[in-house]
Symmetry: C2
């Protein structure tokens, strides 16, 4: 069974928004093992929409549309498809009630035109919209399935994943199920080399590395009759990968992040961390405090951009700065000790480096970063040469700082990062 | 003249990447006054590419493709279009030389297959690629123009803007030129109301407000025969808008940002600022230090998440915390005074609030934020009730903090923010 996606909306053709809907739908279809050969964008124009529709219906089994379900005269997707299928649109009482309730609960007056959204093609499956007023619809004909979804991603996405996906899963011969391992400290090609024997022999399940900003994702994917069987197939593969990559794997799951892992580890161990940042300028603290509940384990951070403040706030000595410079392992060591002593936190982290674009020298180039950690039984500094522009260097340095906290808490600080 | 965009790439149909190219091209075409009626995505499959191409060439004057110009056997865009136009691909010596040089300069061995990229349709205009190996091409036939661009956005974008845009500008009847005013502190609907008389009478030039995260952009657009004339047309409109919105306008230009404006103002005034952050957790410092050269005006920031550290580092008194709580104007006032005194900065900023999702009460709900400023002649706190989730509240609070620094430096602190 193959699919086509038709995104309806003049704002897409004007380039005012990017078509993320098509990506989300394509990815889901691909996960379910369906082929997509074409996707099309067409404006809010009935003739052109009709011609796109006829073309798609002629060459694909399933058609998924986004957009054109709203209350205005421009919104014609439902009417055009119903007409193509020889069906009338009739008032769907349940949808009408939901739309009226939605307006009432927000204390808003409902323009009458809104009820147009509750007129659904006869015999269709109505897809309830929990995040907006326009319901979606599925029409099944002898040759095709038409699935109509609203345009705003905040409405389209939940409808797709919660209602359309289960509907299509039932029709799929098999499902494709993925799990994601999150990896920090080893680069894409190094990981591929380490995993070469697994990658070379793979058929089902498969593994694929994806580079992300400063880190890596490893997707383990199985094709199976159902999710449970797929999970069972992935288990031994995951164990094998974990044996090879060990503690470079910091978490599992698409929504994992290094900062979330660190906050979780700090909270479960009952420890606190404090940061002294120079080149990252608050980014490490920002990442930690992005996580709700960080207040329990992050009493404070300092951003000491100037040498004076490194001395005044952290007790870095004038001698160290004069002899080794602000960007040195000695300064990083004094920064992390200073912030730990000053705040009484269990773990002190100090970060100093050259983020660029200016300020680099032959001896100390842009991208040179020192990260120090001071905690019970540990007082050491790591040196990194980081690639990229100012943003990328700051991002990478902050990820290393987080990883160093993670490794300290796991008692795995002895590491050779491999890129 | 109307255009169609065909994006070639199986990775798009699998949903591995989002089609930003189509957006960038659509926007440019719309700015030049060209219509786009359809855009299509097709995989790396010669038959389907050919059929998409025939369809597009039949209904549009111009076709812009992205992708499929690489060295592998899958990359067939150039060959398919050349074949459609009845043209052969022949070696283009200048492109060959450039590709060889590119490999040599990176000390890399060049696989022979790479030379395929230098074989260009006879009689085409070659578009030089300064950011990769695959050149682009323009073929003009009696009925159509075919413009072939590489797929990677980092290569496509400069080729489009630097080479294709001037080519298409020459053919356009008129150009559409926009300028962007950046506005903080007044909401989209409030701005629309203030600008109503201008908006109501607009034909050419036009103004349109766009909501951005926490701020607003106002686009002034003129249709004219050339850029110079368009600029002249926008001048009186800009003056009129500035008379109405005054110092809510913080900068001009698409790449402007509140943090850049603040760093520029601090540097030209020779003043320094220091931050004491609680709920924003380092985000204000992070934004300031995003800007190269911030070190000259930002000696230090402190993130005092815990009450203990607010006392120890900033000298907030136990009495204040007990009587008014950590989230109060009194605490904000002591935080900004504390960080200023401690660091000797000219301007101290203190931010305390409830970012959520937990921690809100009836009296002090999630979104309540106090921002204090302490500087020569000023010691006051602002109160805000900010909407949104944790991220949005932190983002908005940090923008207000930056705006308060900006307004202090402009001597415009007396403001009623209007949302």
């Amino acid at each position: 069974m193959n699919f086509e996606i038709i995104s309806v909306g003049t704002e897409l053709l004007l380039g005012q928004i990017v078509n993320t809907n098509a990506q989300v739908i394509s990815r889901m279809l691909s996960e379910l093992g369906y082929n997509v050969y074409y996707t099309t964008v067409v404006g809010d124009n009935p003739d052109r929409l009709q011609s796109a529709l006829e073309l798609a219906a002629g060459r694909a089994d399933g058609i998924i549309t986004t957009g054109g379900l709203g209350p205005t005269g421009d919104d014609l997707t439902k009417e055009t498809i119903a007409h193509y299928c020889g069906k009338k649109c009739i008032m769907h009482e349940e949808s009408k009630r939901r739309i009226e309730e939605r307006f009432a609960s927000q204390g808003q007056y409902m323009p009458k035109s809104n009820l147009k959204q509750a007129e659904m093609p006869e015999g269709c499956i109505v897809l309830q919209n929990d995040h907006g007023t326009a319901p979606g619809a599925i029409i099944e004909t002898e040759k095709n399935i038409f699935i109509m979804l609203p345009g705003p991603p905040s409405e389209m996405r939940p409808m797709l994943l919660e209602q359309v996906r289960p509907y299509l899963e039932k029709r799929a011969d098999c499902i494709i199920y993925s799990e994601s391992l999150r990896i920090f400290g080893v680069g894409e090609s190094a990981a591929e080399e380490k995993l070469k024997t697994i990658i070379d022999r793979q058929t089902n399940p498969t593994i694929a590395p994806y580079a992300k900003t400063g880190e890596m994702e490893l997707r383990l994917t199985a094709k199976a009759s159902d999710t449970q069987q797929a999970k069972k197939m992935l288990q031994p593969l995951e164990t094998e990968v974990r044996n090879i990559l060990g503690d470079f794997i910091y978490a599992k799951g698409e929504n994992a992040s290094l900062e979330k892992t660190v906050v979780d580890l700090l909270r479960t161990s009952g420890k606190t961390a404090a940061t002294a940042e120079s080149c990252t300028g608050g980014l490490v603290a920002k990442k930690i405090t992005d996580i709700p509940g960080a207040s329990a384990c992050f009493p404070c951070g300092m951003i000491t951009y100037s040498n004076e403040q490194k001395q005044a706030l952290l007790g870095v000595t004038a001698e160290t700065l004069a002899a080794h410079g602000a960007v040195s392992s000695q300064t990083a060591l004094e920064m992390c000790r200073g912030v730990r002593e000053k705040t009484g936190a269990d773990i002190g982290i100090g970060i100093t480096g050259i983020a660029g674009p200016d300020g680099g020298t032959d001896e100390k180039p842009v991208g040179l970063v020192y990260i120090g950690i001071c905690a019970e039984g540990v007082h050491r500094a790591f040196r990194f040469y980081l690639a990229g522009d100012r943003n990328m260097i700051r991002e990478r340095a902050s990820l290393y700082a987080l990883d160093i906290i993670r490794r300290y808490l796991l008692n795995k600080l002895d590491v050779d990062y491999i890129w």
